[in-house]
Symmetry: C2
Subunit: 168 residues, 2 copies
Amino acid sequence: MYLMGQRDNMSNITTDFNYKTVEYNQLLNDFKALLKKNNLKFTIQREVILETLYNSDEHLTPESLHNLIQAKFPNLNTGIATVYRTLSLLEESEIVTSLSFGAQGKKYELGAKHHHDHLICTSCGSITEFVDEQIEDRQKKIADALGFKMQDHSMQIYGICKNCQIKE
Amino acid sequence: MYLMGQRDNMSNITTDFNYKTVEYNQLLNDFKALLKKNNLKFTIQREVILETLYNSDEHLTPESLHNLIQAKFPNLNTGIATVYRTLSLLEESEIVTSLSFGAQGKKYELGAKHHHDHLICTSCGSITEFVDEQIEDRQKKIADALGFKMQDHSMQIYGICKNCQIKE
DNA sequence: GTCGCTGCAAAGTCTTTGCAGAGAG
DNA sequence: CTCTCTGCAAAGACTTTGCAGCGAC
């Protein structure tokens, strides 16, 4: 099992621990191509949303994403509705994936990274990512054994994270 | 890894394949004891909700649970608010567990069966349950390694089930 | 220019809450 | 009797949609 590294938050420069497998420019180009293919338009709002997702290590709710954008680009005055609309578009295009964890609402993350699973703190809501080859292998075998043609899978472990255990 | 059997839908009589580890009467008694312990009252609505959950193999939404109850006990005129309140109570007491699948809303199932994971057919929506000890072990180890106090976990494998593959 | 996109506000979902009367203990 | 529960309806939280003007192409 290995923990995903942290990526450099300040720029697109990769670090030794960078887990993003896609450069921002490539991602952006893919997105533009997708838009063109579907006769959709490339707008500044759409770019800002993609960029903000890319530059965040967090799993963002539509609301927190909107807040980040408002803070960084106050002049754009981006509406929450546009954030929702763009997230749906990105999810449909499999550029982002969503997680519905415990309570209510979804969180989104870029899907362009490595596949990974999630450890979710039920106290503070923080999400830690990990990948475990043994589990990945096992999942394939189980699907095979049941005659199931596996397309995707997701795993979540819920509990109390280190920090919250200390606080209690 | 082993597949969970199917239970008899018509009565509380167990079959060879029954996977419920708890008899309804025992479940009911536990629930009554829990209520008493917390100075809560045992009402007909609460019983009907528990019973309906017990007698359903489906993963139920609050709404579908409410519909089932309305259909079976129209005279009770159970309110949806009571269903929500009781589900929260049951979840808090770890008698039921909730799943947040894809879209929106939660689905509930009795937690009194064995723990299990889910294979979900993206074509017909059917859900197959399974348990794999290797994965269970691994999950514990991962949580431990990350200083995480594990409370629960869930795993879903998405794909096309045998039947749907044949149809295609 | 055209036609899709955006912000806004209104409308939809799903869930929770306040309240007054009903009912369990 | 007391104090919790319940159904109802209203309120909340989150998300989607209609619309008129804006902006990408």
